[in-house]
């Protein structure tokens, strides 16, 4: 077994706010091999974005990683110095976000922004950076890159801006790309273009990708494996096809069944009752227990007493649920 590129273990990231402690990430662990695409799926507040920010060392007060380890290619990132983090973040771990235009500096040309990323990573001189910026824009499918390189963010459409963000991310030839809801703000036809681009770049460069999304369909498009998060924990993790064919966790099952495509037109949809728990006030035991229909049917009492540990009923398929414990 080769060592994974990224190994997250027992990660706890908490936010200390006036009202109490928000356990945004509460014991998350997973591995990513080189060149692998892992989808992190869940609803708002489940901790998927905080997980990615924790990996990149971007948690700011009142948030803090209180426990756990993030090892990237043999280097421990939790508690690492700013110098170490800067040598990893950007050149080796790159990130793209949901709002590409908000991530770009409005008063700097596209070329200069890519150039900055290149300068940080490679130390190329100015003309070389310029040439490389044009190449990168071309690489991410922007037509007429020589002209575009001189443009400013407000001149770009949403899809174009996300391509520019991807170009910036690619500047350092990263080993890992973290894409946080990269297509959520885009129209469906543009989403298809961006996903296609990501898939194509990923296989060409052999980079690993963490794709964060609330949309199971997006995950299914390009991920090899998927991890479903609920209330700060990964409740199920397995190959994407297995997630669709044989989901084990009642929450995953509920998400699958509540898709409109899963039932007859104009009929009532299956629903998960209730709503996502307030992160300040998590229930004792399994966080999903209050919304879990199979729990009621099975009459399990452990669910409301103790949080389940991950078990692996099948090879490579992990689930946190007493029904399978």
């Amino acid at each position: 077994m080769t060592e994974p590129l990224l190994s997250v273990e027992g990660l706890h990231t908490h936010f200390f706010v006036d009202a109490g402690v928000v356990k945004a990430v509460d014991g998350v662990g997973f591995n990513i091999r080189r060149g692998e695409v892992v989808g992190l799926v869940g609803e708002s507040g489940c901790g998927k974005s905080v997980t990615s920010l924790s990996i990149a060392g971007l948690i700011e007060p009142p948030g803090r990683i209180v426990e756990g380890s993030v090892r990237f290619d043999g280097t421990e990132l939790v508690g690492a110095s700013e110098r170490v983090l800067n040598s990893v973040r950007g050149p080796r771990i790159a990130m793209i976000f949901q709002q590409p235009r908000a991530s770009l500096d409005p008063v700097m040309s596209v070329g200069r922004q890519i150039g900055q990323a290149l300068k940080a990573g490679t130390g190329m001189d100015r003309p070389a950076r310029r040439r490389r910026a044009v190449e990168l824009l071309d690489r991410v499918g922007i037509s007429d890159p020589e002209r575009r390189v001189r443009e400013y963010p407000h001149q770009l459409s949403g899809g174009m801006a996300q391509r520019v963000m991807i170009a910036i991310a690619l500047a350092g030839e990263p080993d890992l790309l973290i894409a946080d809801e990269p297509t959520t703000a885009l129209d469906v036809t543009v989403q298809a273009q961006i996903l296609e681009l990501l898939r194509e770049l990923q296989s060409a460069n052999g980079m690993a990708v963490i794709l964060i999304s609330h949309d199971l369909g997006v995950i299914a498009e390009i991920a090899d494996r998927a991890a479903v998060m609920y209330a700060g924990r990964i409740v199920e993790e397995c190959a994407v096809s297995e997630l669709y064919d044989a989901p084990l966790h009642p929450y995953t099952l509920g998400l699958m069944e509540s898709r409109p495509a899963a039932s007859q037109s104009k009929s009532r949809l299956r629903v998960i009752p209730g709503s996502v728990p307030v992160p300040l006030d998590l229930p004792v035991g399994c966080s999903f227990a209050p919304r879990c229909a199979p729990r009621v049917e099975s009459g399990l009492t452990a669910c409301t007493e103790q949080a389940p540990d991950p078990v692996s009923p099948r090879d490579g398929h992990h689930v946190r649920c007493w029904l399978h414990g």
Binding site: T13, F15, V17, V22, A24, G45
Partner: protein, 311 residues
Amino acid sequence: MALERPVALTEHAASGRGPAGSGASEHHRARWERGSWRRLASSPVAVVGLVLTVLFVLVAALASYIAPTDPFSFAGTPFERPSPKHWLGTDDLGRDVFAGVVHGARTSLFVGVAVAGASLVIGTVVGGVAGFAGGKVDDLLMRFTELSQVLPRFFLALTVVALFGPGLRNMVLVLALTSWELTARVARSGVLAVKELEYVTAAEALGSSPWRNLRTHVLPNTIAPVVALASLQVGGAILIEASLSFLGLGDPNVISWGYMLNNAQSFVRRAWWMSVFPGLAIAVAVLGVNLLGDALNDFWNPRSRTSGAAR
């Protein structure tokens, strides 16, 4: 360029990238949080401002009880030092300085509140109508506002007093007519922002008339920063009144701190108490209302507010 209404709901999900997810982002957006008065009260600046302002108002309201002596009557011999009989001494004509300071608070408060109140009303009406009506009405009203902005209020006040004679009423009138321009701008920008919000459209969809919308939804949701600004203007008006009176352009029949300072000019070396105490009174009163205004401004300004969650 508003083609469709701001559609990007996904952006809310984005701003909820913080730990508490949508819960946190919703908190961010709610301007009125219950229990935040408690937070206001926990800010030292706000507490000091509030205490000083309340003190100022109490002194003005209860002046006749605190200092029963008429500030214009001859209460003792001239230039008495502060003593148990005359706490703050007497002036060149033997008038009680304490009585002057206490009764002067009335004048200052009257000028401050009258000017700020007038500016609040005029500014809100002009700015509110301009922002809500838009188009030509907006252009016209805002040009008019700019016109009033270029008038130097201090010198205008000087001129009016020189032409029509010193009088408290004239002074208040001039200051009121020249100090609403900023209020109008703040009110207008608030109305412009709020009138595009969906809850205003929603009310319109329920059959609400534009006028009703302005009254029940738009103004109540824009008035907070306007009120904060008005409280800052109280201090400004007090200072201008004092300055004019100091220059001898105040109303000679009304006791005021500026009038007392003007009178004290010639006797600074001989009777320091004649200038120090009215001066202190001005400083404390203006400090108090300004601190309170600042605190209110911070409290109501959404950008300076942080909800519990990060980002």
